[in-house]
Structure formats: C-alpha cells, structure tokens
Amino acid sequence: MEKKYKTKEELIAAFKHAVGAKDAFESLVKGKMSKADFEKQGYKLAEID
C-alpha cells in the first residue's frame, strides 16, 4: 500500500499537488474552472451516493 517515490522531484510534486487541491476545488465551486480541467489536473472528487 505504501507509495515509494523514486525521486525527490516526484515526492515534492505529490506534496504540491495535494496542497494545490484546495485552490482547484475552490475554482471549481466558484465556476472558474470546469470539471474537465479540474480532472485534467489530476484531481478526482469522491463519488457520493
């Protein structure tokens, strides 16, 4: 289960991606970003039912 990051860049990119999720979500909620663009950035909202 544990993810192994091969390089420092890969690890920092994963961290920055997680940090950037809030801004992406905010842009999505406020209509500044489409869902397609949100997903293109590698973000995926949980499916709720």
Binding site: M1, E2, K3, K4, Y5, K8, L11, I12, A14, F15, H17, A18, V19, A21, K22, D23, F25, E26, V29, K30, Y43, K44, L45, A46, E47, I48, D49
Partner: protein, 169 residues
C-alpha cells in the same frame, strides 16, 4: 470507491439542511445567507487507497459573523463520512492568507469536540517548504482494518518529505 453517505443521517444531526451537489460534494446555506460547499478529493499523497482530502469553501459570503452551526454542520458531514471505517481523512490548512497555524489549531479544537473522538486517531504534520509552514491533519478510525499500515505510510511520508524539503530551504 464510492462513498455511501446518507443525507438523511447528515440532516438528522445538522442544524443546516445539507444537499448533494452533482453527486460529488455537499452544500448548505446559513441563516445569514452564506453558502458553503464541502468536498472530498481522492488524495494519493500518502499512497493510501481510501484517503480523501477534505475541503470547505464559501461559495458566497455575505456576512462573516461567527456561527457555531457551521461547525455542527461540518461535524455532521464528517461523522457520516466516517461511518465507513476504511476511509482516512486529511486536511491541509490553506496558506493563502498566512493563517494556516490558526486553522490547524481550529481543526484540532473541532476534533476535540468530535463525537466519540476516542474512536479516532488524529495525526498532525507540520512541513516547511520555500519558507512557508504547511499544516496538515489526518484522521483515521482506530478500527480501520489497515490502521497500522496507514499510520506507517503517513509516518514514512512525513520523514521522507521532511528530509527532502529541508534540502530546498
């Protein structure tokens, strides 16, 4: 994994009526007319399958008076999220206005008031990157079948990234 969250359960405990938006997030409107959206984004940072990052975003804020019902509404949603024991929730405090330390303390305070909090573990992480302090909190149910694996993955990620980020300061 699809999250099976019951709106009925949420609304039985939430002071504000919560609705589902497009099957992917929750929303509610306060008495003051402020609208909020709550979302869970799949988070692969720790390499844990069922990890989700939690967000609450104001869609419109007409008035910013303190409103305890907002906290109660969020707690109702998170409580329902944790009806599934396999999931893990993480929250990275927004750094845009430099108030991330306050947000982290607030989140810990919320957690301290969380129903049945003894059934959960809270881990907090502080990381420094490019002279900015990042605060993250992770909540996991103590009876998560992968509890030890998850904590080990978080600990390893933290020590690995701390070492790497220190090199960038």
């Amino acid at each position: 994994m699809k999250l099976h969250l019951s709106l009925e359960n949420i609304n039985s405990k939430s002071p504000y009526k919560v609705s589902i938006t497009d099957g992917n997030s929750f929303s509610f409107t306060t008495e003051e007319g402020n609208e909020y959206e709550i979302g869970f984004i799949k988070d692969d940072m720790f390499g844990i399958t069922d990890a989700y990052q939690f967000f609450i975003v104001p869609k419109s804020e007409k008035n910013t008076i303190k409103d305890g019902k907002i906290q109660q509404t969020i707690v109702a949603v998170i409580e329902e999220f944790f009806r599934t024991k396999e999931v893990l929730l993480d929250y990275i405090c927004d750094t845009n206005d430099g108030r991330q330390a306050t947000r982290s303390r607030l989140f810990s305070h919320w957690f301290s008031q969380f129903p049945n909090r003894k059934l959960f573990t809270l881990r907090t992480l502080t990381l420094y990157y490019e002279k900015i302090a990042f605060y993250a909190s992770v909540i996991i149910r103590n009876d998560n079948p992968k509890y030890e694996e998850c904590l080990s993955a978080i600990d390893n990620f933290e020590s690995e990234i701390r070492g790497k980020l220190d090199e960038t300061i």
